[in-house]
């Protein structure tokens, strides 16, 4: 099952609609890392609200994706992790270190907007 990728302003949004097979997740990651350059996106949001399980494979894949996105000059945020899934991920011993998280899509966008504002201030101070 393919995950649609939407472009909203400077951000790419991938909303996972149901449990994903390993290959589909890998395909999504490939697509996002390609498109982030093509579309000159500043940020990527991966919405995992519909995932009822995040095991070591999917977590690892998402952590790798976040690293790639950062290397491509954008920021990635995972949104919508369910409370039970969060507990399972932590208890498995996975940390999602270096990955930003937010409650939901709205929060994810707010987070990226905040990032853009603060980095914009640093880069060219408009005074």
């Amino acid at each position: 099952m393919q995950v649609p990728i939407l472009k909203q302003g400077a951000y790419l949004i991938a909303s996972i609609q149901s449990a994903l097979e390993d290959d589909d997740l890998v395909r999504l990651c490939d697509a996002l890392s390609t498109q982030v350059g093509k579309s000159r996106a500043r940020g990527v949001i991966v919405d995992v609200t519909a995932l009822d399980v995040m095991d070591s494979f999917s977590t690892r894949t998402l952590v790798e994706l976040a690293t790639i996105i950062r290397l491509r000059g954008a920021e990635m945020v995972i949104v919508g992790i369910q409370p039970e899934v969060a507990v399972a991920v932590v208890r498995l011993g996975l940390k999602l270190e270096g990955v930003s998280t937010a409650l939901d899509l709205e929060e994810g966008i707010a987070y990226l907007d905040g990032k853009a504002r603060s980095s914009g201030k640093e880069k060219n101070d408009r005074g």
């Binding site: 969060a86 507990v87 932590v90 998280t101 929060e107």
Partner: protein, 371 residues
């Protein structure tokens, strides 16, 4: 009912809740000799030393009852019943006669019963008037059940009575005690009625006893069930209260933890906190553990996992009130405290949270000045 120990085992025995109607079993008709012996045996056992205070109160009166207790209304009824008491329909008929007799003597017997309740120091949480009012109501239901052989109305009354008296601290012991007292009071009145006719008395008691036992059972079981329901409700309430997730400002939650945390409570705490974060869309959570005296490695580990899981939902945790002992436990576990956001006390934690959320607390005087 004269045999004290027999009465107790009947009452505490298990009766299926689904039992809606009574079958009055009379047993095979007896010959004259054994009947007389049986009554003798009862008379002896009624004076035997009972184990419990309640039982002492119930059986303390001399048996047979004094002549003054005898009411003189039922000889005619006994005569009517005598011809029919040989079969089951006769039993029903007999119980109906008994019910009629007991209704006629209601006030007198209820007064006697109330006196005995007070005398046995039962229902001390209630006034004499209250006891008498309830006694009349229980008595009416009791006699109705005796007559109709159905327990629904009595069950419903027992439930509502329990609902009323449980909050006042009435105990199971007392409820069983008053029901047994009623059995005793009524049996004494029946004895007084029929003592001149042993064979009739025996039939009356054979009909009365199983019915009275089941009625006593129904009331006691109803009370215990109601009590258990109340206890379950309270346990649930305590569980929820023990881990309150409070919203102090928009997007800011506080979780004050008081008392020891065991793994079960730790789980609950985590689940409630994470759910609270989602429903309140919280960004910052202050967990105050000032009230937690000690923490073993398992629970400390759980706390760390809760902090990590909270982060995955996009919220930040600030821990306040970390005692030196618990800090030591965390360090021993290899927790990197520099990665945990800890602030000395709850006030400092809330201030830090407000800072993270972009709030600034300004005295009103300064605010007015600025305007």
């Amino acid at each position: 009912m004269l045999c004290a120990s027999g009465g107790v085992s009947e009452v505490t025995g298990i009766v299926p809740r689904t039992m809606q109607s009574l079958e009055w079993n009379t047993g095979p008709a007896r010959k004259e000799g054994p009947q007389v012996r049986r009554i003798d045996k009862r008379m002896q056992s009624s004076t035997a030393n009972p184990d419990q205070n309640t039982m002492a109160a119930i059986t303390s009166k001399a048996w047979p009852p004094a002549e003054s207790e005898k009411s003189g209304t039922a000889y005619a009824l006994a005569g009517v019943a005598r011809h029919r008491a040989s079969d089951e329909s006769g039993t029903v008929e007999l119980l109906r006669s008994l019910a009629h007799l007991l209704r006629e003597n209601r006030t007198q017997l209820c007064e006697e019963w109330s006196r005995r309740i007070s005398g046995a120091s039962l229902l001390t949480a209630m006034t004499k008037e209250e006891i008498f009012a309830e006694a009349i109501a229980v008595y009416n239901n009791y006699v109705d059940a005796l007559e109709s052989g159905t327990l629904e109305a009595l069950q419903a009354y027992a439930r509502s009575l329990s609902e009323r008296i449980i909050p006042r601290g009435v105990e199971t012991r007392e409820v069983i005690g008053i029901v047994l007292l009623l059995r005793d009071v009524l049996a004494r009145s029946l004895f007084a009625e029929y003592q001149s006719d042993f064979s009739m008395l025996n039939r009356v008691l054979d009909s009365y006893e199983p019915a009275a036992n089941r009625i006593a059972n129904t009331v006691a079981v109803g009370f215990v069930q109601e009590r258990e329901r109340v206890i379950r409700e309270q346990q649930e309430a305590i569980r929820v209260l023990s881990t309150p997730v409070l919203q102090v400002r928009e997007r800011l939650l506080i979780l004050p933890i008081i008392g020891e945390i065991d793994p079960q409570r730790a789980r609950q705490l985590t689940e409630q906190l994470l759910r609270g974060i989602r429903t309140n869309r919280a960004k910052v959570v202050v967990i105050d553990i000032t009230g937690v005296p000690t923490m073993d490695a398992t629970v400390a580990n759980h706390l760390v996992q809760t902090v990590d899981a909270t982060r995955l939902l996009g919220a930040t945790v600030i821990i306040t009130g970390l005692s030196p002992e618990i800090a030591q436990t965390l360090v021993t576990l290899g927790v990197d405290l520099s990665k945990m956001n800890t602030v000395g006390d709850l006030q400092g934690g809330i201030e830090e949270a407000e800072r993270l959320l972009g709030y600034k607390v300004v005295p009103i005087s300064e605010l007015a000045h600025a305007e």
